[in-house]
Symmetry: C2
């Protein structure tokens, strides 16, 4: 109930987002239901209308945006993968009090691979560099 639905996609929904994210780079006008069905629905043996329903629901949940193009809709992701992931992470952490967050993070890092830790450090470094830049000019 309080659980933000945007942070919890079903499998098909996720696949759709995945496709929208990658395919929309080359097609800023957005993808039609047909496009999405052809790309990920056919191989799964899904009906065209199934993708229609799913995309429709996702539009209502603000996971995707859509725009008319003649009689068809053109769909685009409403948020980037980064944004959605970030949102999910904040959502998870948001359920904790400040003091708990610290130890949860510690546990998280503890259970991270060295690669993941490097990624995190790199991200932090990036951020700090930008912060620095902002400060000095």
């Amino acid at each position: 109930m309080a659980t933000n639905p945007r942070t919890r996609l079903g499998e098909l929904e996720r696949a759709v987002m995945e496709h929208l994210w990658t395919a929309s780079e080359a097609r800023p006008e957005g993808l039609t239901v047909r496009d999405v069905h052809d790309a990920i629905g056919v191989e799964r043996g899904l009906a065209y209308t199934t993708l229609m329903t799913v995309l429709d629901r996702m539009a209502k949940k603000k996971l995707v945006t859509r725009e008319r193009d003649g009689r068809a809709w053109r769909y685009l992701p409403a948020s980037s993968r980064d944004e959605l992931t970030s949102e999910a992470l904040h959502h998870t952490l948001g359920e904790l009090a400040g003091s708990e967050r610290r130890s949860a993070l510690l546990r998280f890092l503890d259970q991270s691979t060295p690669e993941e830790l490097d990624e995190l450090r790199a991200a932090l470094a990036d951020l700090e560099q930008r912060e620095g830049k902002r400060k000095t000019g």
Copy 2:
């Protein structure tokens, strides 16, 4: 489906875990259904059996463990809040490919408060210190 149910608690389930986490510190034998009902069920006007059902389901989902005590069960959290949170975070990040994770983390940090960043840095420092210790001794 692939979504780990352990990472997605309902409101009541969360409240139960919350109570178990805090109350079980003083009571390592675990709490009975009655305890939990008295603590969080009564004020919500919930039936005793509601808490029974919920705790039962949670035991089946391995969110809590339980042990017989006469005819009653004694419940304890199966994982700490930290573990569960960490699991959820990994779950979220696990849906991403390595290259995507980096930028998702960046976005995440970007949208974090300075306090959160400090918490994260502190946790990282902790970890590194322990790593260092392990290496040298």
